[in-house]
Structures are given as structure tokens and as C-alpha cells.
């Protein structure tokens, strides 16, 4: 039981990965080894507890949004392919490929995709107004919904169920004029209109944003 082959045999027996002959041989040695028997029993109990406590699936928060986001991205990828199809690099040979047998089918697909995109856009985003297309709040107790207010001439995204900010907490605003964009570094300084650094945006080990005040 102290060498790797024994460890392998132990897990293979536990996980029912042995053939019959191997299993018989192992069970014979098991009968003669109380320590090994105790180990098998302990690991079996552990496995039973793990299986009873760990779900084989985990409900995805906002499952419909999960699916619809994937469909949106697939549609975007299709449209990107369509754009590639019309890329200037292909212009030189366009008369040639128009004569190819698959052109008619491809053109039909292009028209269908473009028409679908146009239809979607017309139906989901009326001209002139900002529109909220979809929302997802990771915290299940937060409910997000949107509407357009004609009186305010604004689109409103309401978040119900947010926890209040403690009253003794100071909320400090900044007057940010612009930020630098440097692809080489993971931090972004935010400047005032006088060019002074107000904040620096960085990311932590979990890729979560951290905003650090710049002190001199």
C-alpha cells in the first residue's frame, strides 16, 4: 500500500475499473490485509459522502439569459463571417467567385443573416433612443428591469433589491477628465482636467477591478 502500483490498484478497485480477474486477485489480498481493508472502507465512505453532498449540476443564474447571450454571440460571429466575406482583399477576384456554384447559396445565406440582423435591430432598438437589450444581475436577490421615460427623455435601468450603502460610508466622487490607454500595462491612470492622476485602475488576482487613490 506504500508504493504507487498499490495506490493505483486501490483507486481502480474503488472506482470499479478492474477486470474480473484483477478484482478477484485484489479481493484475495484484501482479505489478508486489515489495513488495506480499513483504507478501502474509509475511502468508500468518503466517496458516498461526497456524492450525497455535491450536486452533479449547479443551477446557472439567469439560465434564459445564459442561452440568449450565447445565441447573440453566435449571431455576431456569423455576421463577422459575412463581413469577412465582403472584405476588400477579396475584391480582386469577386467576378470569379460570383461564378462559382456555391455563390448562390452563400449569397442567400448572407441576405438572410443581414435581413435577420436588420429585423432584430428594427425591433429591438428604435431609432433615437437608448435601449437596454438584456440584463443579468449575479446576485439573485437583485431584480433588474428597464423602461423608457418619455418625460425624462431617458432610458432607465432599475435595480431593485440592492443592499444599501452604510450611512457612515463616505462616497467620494471624482472629476475625471480622461484616462490613458496602454496595452502594455494592466493599469490605467485616470486624470483630472489639469493632468493630475486621481485614481489608478488595476486588477487583482481574480481579474476584479481595484481602484487605487493616487497619493503623493
Amino acid at each position: 500500500m506504500k508504493t504507487p502500483p498499490d495506490e493505483n490498484q486501490l483507486v481502480r478497485y474503488l472506482d470499479d475499473e478492474m477486470d474480473l480477474a484483477e478484482k478477484n486477485t485484489f479481493e484475495a489480498s484484501l482479505a489478508a490485509d486489515a489495513e488495506l481493508r480499513a483504507e478501502i472502507e474509509s475511502m468508500s465512505r468518503l466517496g458516498a459522502v461526497l456524492r450525497s453532498a455535491m450536486p452533479d449540476g449547479r443551477d446557472v443564474p439567469h439560465p434564459d439569459f445564459f442561452n440568449s447571450q450565447i445565441q447573440v454571440r453566435l449571431a455576431e460571429e456569423k455576421q463577422a463571417h459575412v463581413r469577412e466575406f465582403h472584405a476588400p482583399a477579396q475584391v480582386g477576384g469577386w467576378l470569379g467567385w460570383m461564378r462559382t456554384p456555391w455563390f448562390a447559396a452563400a449569397a442567400t445565406a448572407v441576405i438572410a443573416v443581414v435581413a435577420f440582423g436588420f429585423w432584430q435591430d428594427r425591433h429591438s432598438a428604435p431609432t433615437g433612443l437608448s435601449v437596454v437589450l438584456s440584463t443579468y444581475a449575479p446576485n439573485p436577490s437583485v431584480h433588474a428591469h428597464s423602461f423608457h421615460s418619455g418625460e425624462a427623455q431617458a432610458t432607465v435601468l432599475m435595480l431593485d433589491g440592492l443592499a444599501s450603502v452604510p450611512p457612515d460610508r463616505q462616497i467620494v466622487g471624482q472629476q475625471v477628465h480622461h484616462s490613458d490607454m496602454d496595452r502594455q500595462v494592466a493599469t490605467t491612470p485616470l486624470f483630472s482636467d489639469e493632468g493630475r492622476v486621481l485614481l489608478v485602475r488595476a486588477v487583482d488576482g481574480r481579474n476584479q477591478p481595484r481602484l487605487l487613490e493616487h497619493t503623493r
Partner: protein
């Protein structure tokens, strides 16, 4: 312990990224910012203005000087009052930001509440398709796909605070031609 280490490292990275080289060279940090090499600006899809507003039941006037607000939003307190039942709207912070085409952009009128903005390209009928994430410190409050159009602000209701509420306003101020 890991928290403090992370913060220390972040601060170091920050110093290096924001002029730490200047400190190491014996120059003041502020000078090294101004002297940082000019980086070619990445392509953008427009410019947005983000403001953090504190709405409360009482206060003098609207709390917002018209000069503080971008053109097209000078009547912001009145418009906010049509949606949120408060008398006083104070502009706590604001940030005008390019929306980068291929990189994430951040609109940070406060380090307490801010937005991550990802452009998904031009929208049909004008404006930009955006993926927005509304953050409160280390937490995403909401993720949303939205079309932002010039002159049509997006009001996002934030958490309650003291006797009022925090509101984030996002507006497309300059779409890219």
C-alpha cells in the same frame, strides 16, 4: 495576509505603471506622468459621459451647476426628477471617456460605483452597441447589453445611501463618424 500582500503588490505595480520609473530615477512621480511616452491612441467608437448623482429629499437648489454638465444634459436634475422621487440631485463625480473599439473602457466618476464598457460596434440607426457592467467596488451589480444613442441618457438606479439614493447616468456625447 494575502489581502495585504496583494494590495502591496498592486500598489507597486501601480507605481511602476504610473511613473514609478520616475521615482526610481529620482524624479517626482507627477513629473514622470507628464513625461510618459506618448502611446498611439487605439481606435474608438465614440465618447461617453458618466456621472454619479446623489438624489436626496432635501437640499439647496438642485445641487448641480449647469456648467458641470455636458451639453444636452443641462436639464439633468429636472429629467432625473421625472423618474426618481427626490427633490435634490447632487453631482458627486463625473468622467468623460473614450469608448475603445477593441479594449475595455472604464467610466469611473467614483471608486465606489463605476462602469465597465465594452463596445460591440456601431448600432443600426446610430449609436453604439455596448456591453456594460455596473460595479460597486468588487461586485458586479448588473451586466447589460444596451444600445446607447446620442442625446438619450441611460439612468441606472444604484443603491440607497443615507436618506437618498445613488444614481449613475451614462450618455453618449460623441459618436464616432
Amino acid at each position: 495576509m494575502p489581502h495585504s500582500l496583494t494590495a502591496a503588490r498592486l500598489f507597486f505595480i501601480t507605481l511602476m505603471a504610473c511613473g514609478g520609473g520616475g521615482v526610481l530615477n529620482g524624479q517626482p512621480a507627477a513629473t514622470s506622468f507628464e513625461a510618459s511616452p506618448i502611446i498611439r491612441k487605439p481606435a474608438t467608437d465614440g465618447k461617453v459621459w458618466g456621472g454619479l448623482i446623489f438624489a436626496s429629499p432635501k437640499g439647496k437648489g438642485t445641487g448641480v451647476a449647469k456648467g458641470d454638465l455636458p451639453a444636452g444634459l443641462r436639464d439633468l436634475p429636472v429629467r432625473l426628477g421625472k423618474v426618481f422621487q427626490f427633490a435634490h440631485f447632487e453631482l458627486l463625480g463625473q468622467h468623460t471617456q473614450d469608448v475603445f473599439r477593441e479594449y475595455e473602457s472604464w467610466v469611473v466618476p467614483s471608486k465606489d460605483l463605476f462602469l465597465k464598457v465594452d463596445s460591440k460596434g456601431k448600432a443600426g440607426g446610430g449609436g453604439i452597441n455596448l456591453h456594460l457592467q455596473f460595479w460597486q467596488e468588487q461586485q458586479v451589480l448588473v451586466k447589460t447589453d444596451a444600445v446607447l444613442r446620442e442625446g438619450s441618457p441611460l439612468f441606472i438606479s444604484g443603491p440607497k445611501w443615507r436618506d437618498g439614493q445613488l444614481i449613475f447616468v451614462l450618455m453618449l456625447t460623441m459618436p464616432e463618424d
